[in-house]
């Protein structure tokens, strides 16, 4: 099966060797699109897809995501970066230029419940999640077989709140060793320290098993049952130091009724969690998300 995945990845890189993405946010004023598109045109780049949003036409913030084809992108990468830096300075831009063939390195953290992990692996095997799943870290052994069966390194690092710092040190070391770009908490049931979070700003994606901000914190399905809600939800968000308060990437819900006890809510909820997390991770991998003031713009 891994040969199939590798083939898909190689074919994807090949197809996308000249494909770049430009993400920009800056104070809005006339001329931004003109300057960017002139720059791209001057390098013979063809704009494939472009999305733009302004918080307010007068005095607001301007956001744009452009996907483009540029002949010999690899060779011209440094030149492009340097020249764009000048435009960026002129418009006070925060910006990022990414190369699609450089697929992102992902670490997945998981505990005992495997449904979110399995969904990500499944999408990955189907070629629908273009990433290098570099390793899986877990405080339990449940996931080992399936992960190693796909030739992905699996690290069992027992964790509890008393040894949190030591555990995270070990984790951070692994993240560095594998040059990880993004960390996905696929139902990882440990709280991260501010130090760990600060080391990975807008790089940790979590799935919370409720429709935030309802049922922040522990045991959301039990509380949803207690409240008698008619819909249950899931929320994927970037992790910040405020528990379940980080920028929301995606949410979805499923209908439930009075017959559904807590166990049934959990089963129904799993399907929602799976698809919400998978969409959020996919958008992150495709550089579709810009974080601005604890909110996300998803292009």
């Amino acid at each position: 099966m891994n040969t199939f995945i590798n083939d898909q990845i190689e074919s994807f890189k090949e197809r996308n060797q000249n494909r770049g993405r430009l993400l920009v946010s800056c104070p809005d004023k006339p001329g931004i699109v003109s300057a960017i598109s002139k720059f791209l045109f001057s390098h013979s780049a063809n704009i494939i897809e472009s999305s733009q949003y302004s918080t307010d036409p007068e005095g607001g913030i301007f956001f744009i995501r452009i996907e483009f084809e540029c002949p010999n992108l690899k060779e011209k990468a440094t030149e492009l970066e340097q020249q764009f830096a000048e435009i960026a300075q002129q418009f006070e831009m925060e910006w990022k230029l990414t190369h699609v063939y450089q697929i992102k390195k992902v670490a997945i953290f998981v505990s005992k419940e495997l449904h979110c992990l399995l969904e990500l692996l499944w999408e990955w095997q189907s070629g629908d999640l273009m990433a290098d799943i570099a390793l899986v870290i877990s405080n339990h052994e449940e996931a080992r077989d399936v992960v190693e069966g796909l030739n992905i390194p699996f690290y069992y690092i027992p964790a509890n709140k008393d040894i949190r710092e030591q555990v995270e040190e070990e984790q951070l070391k692994l993240l560095k060793e594998y040059e990880i770009d993004v960390i996905v908490l696929a139902r990882y049931m440990q709280i991260l320290t501010p130090k760990f979070v600060a080391a990975n700003p807008n790089k940790i994606i979590n799935i919370h098993h409720s429709f935030l901000p309802a049922f922040i914190g522990a045991r959301p399905y039990e509380r949803a049952y207690g409240r008698g809600v008619k819909l249950i939800g899931a929320t994927s968000h970037y992790v910040t130091n405020d528990l379940d308060e980080g920028p929301i990437i995606e949410q979805d819900i499923s209908r439930v009724d009075h017959r559904d006890d807590v166990d049934r809510l959990k089963k129904i909820g799993r399907a929602v969690e799976r698809s919400v997390l998978a969409r959020a991770v996919k958008w992150h991998l495709e550089d579709r998300i810009i974080v601005h003031q604890n909110k996300t713009i998803v292009f």
Copy 2:
């Protein structure tokens, strides 16, 4: 147009003169269905629709809703009630026997925003909401024209928290005069006193413009915008003395994104509020709802 509504109502009453509904809740044990269905059969009643639910097969609570056709229902009403009372006593039932031809008398309370009121009136005019809309009470004048245009009495009763008791006294008098069965708060922006609520247990249906329990209280759309949610919702519930904490009848959501400012959220939200409230009211009118411990069973 009112002739059309009256015709529809009369035709509905005619068609349903022998149609009854039995709602029961009691401690679960074997023999309940057998006793009820034997009783109905002994009166030549044919069960048209029946739904049942138990919280727990062992030692739980049993709920049932039965809709039946019984020849000469009107004439036999008292007899049926008396005889069923014996079964009810034996099984410690809470129960209710309703006659479908006795359509319910509804009072609608509204403030300035008319979309929920208009939806109810629209469904009513289409014959989709079988009720006697007996009067509309508002603390503003905005709704007068449309309400009186349909020959429904409109009462303008200005309200604010300083004169709450006096206002409610006036309202309660009207509710009594019109023999109101159910009160619909169609975006009525005044808090009701415990006295008013206590006088109308499980008879006041509210629409809250958020996906409860998220954004309890005031200005939910503003807070949803601030939090950057990707879905907005609406919740219809029975009113209790805990603000926005009563038994939830129905909820629904609509997808939003970063481009939607507070005004757009409100516009999108209106469509959700309208349909959620209309469904909740319809279920109540059809005796589909049993309230149990701050939750609803909706059959």
Copy 3:
């Protein structure tokens, strides 16, 4: 109520006197965005929103919709058009430059079922549908009261297939007299002649009461019931001379089950029809739709 609508319309025009929209489609090649944005910048226009799509980066068709603010737009309109025509010629563009303050003139055609008409009028009264509803034409009298109650001219033109041409002549005369931009068939149950359709290309929006291409033609709810589908739908599309085969603008569905007979399907379906048609009309009014080869791009 009409004063309120007029106030809203005037305020909208005032707010949008410098707001323009540019819609372009042309063969894809590098430099298009650069040329357009340079042009806008040279006229001090600020791009507020921009969406782009290409069927294929190599040799495909390029589509863009740009909304912009341009100081003194009214005065500069002719100049802008003339100058842009040169760019358009260079890139072989089909294009359209619209002014947001010039709100579109709409004619609504309706028969006996009023729910779609009522939804449009309701959205219009709420200020959610920014249009000049210039007249309503019907082959029945049912809609007269509600339409005239809003001070909208109502024309009763009886129709059947034997007098189709004469009827359409009368209709076309009215459309011309009122300078109509778009015709909405809000459950107008008459088939239009090729002549009528040809006179109004991509200007007639219909609502079909099924999820096309399922149940093309007459009595879709009856046929949906016969087939035992678990979802029913509605489709809004531009009218072409192939019955129910025109470019689809929007579709949606609602869940049904075995208990729903044809009458219930119709009731459930009405809610879907209403919202699908309203969304389609709104997108058309906002110049969000480009038709390409019997499909729509909706930006």
Copy 4:
């Protein structure tokens, strides 16, 4: 992993050793529920869940599904069947009495695309699909590894239309050998002969990758793309000899737009297919489905 599944299955059987289900359809008349519930009560059975539906209160067909707990169900099985047969005769019932601890034996047929198979296996491993997946049959080798990895027998039987009868003979032999109760076509891309279908009435569940009756037959995503639909769907149905015309069990859709090419439609569609088929299979396994005149009643 299989130990875990076996443990779950054993625990399920243990918990449900006294749980039975009764499915009945017959001409509607008063006294049916009374007779059935009296019968159950006389055997000390407690009704846990009951759903009923009549096509028409007068002269229609009556359907009921009852789930009950009956002490010593195993020992009393024959007695129950014999006694109920008398009631059944009296009311001209078609009926079925099933024992929940007798979990159904399932054969899955699959071709090259594995997503539906994987979903079923995933739900099964999670304990959400209570079945004995007895074997997987495929005309390709793609599924072998994952199937055998779960210790499920895998049979590779190459197939094409020239050797259809011989292939089916082999398949039927296996189905008999494994005492299969239900056959799931999880994207099995071969047409079955009338003989095969006739041998398994209402026992073959298929997933069709469109919202039937739209796009019956081959290449539905290509045709959906061609038509420019805004929603794509999937349909699970029992197989009959009319291609894609069997009784529909479940349908669902997903929103798409102009940017989605055929490949993207297929990817989006896979998620819909997976969940629609899984729900249909689950309902079948739970004896929730009654087929009546090419439609399903799903309780």
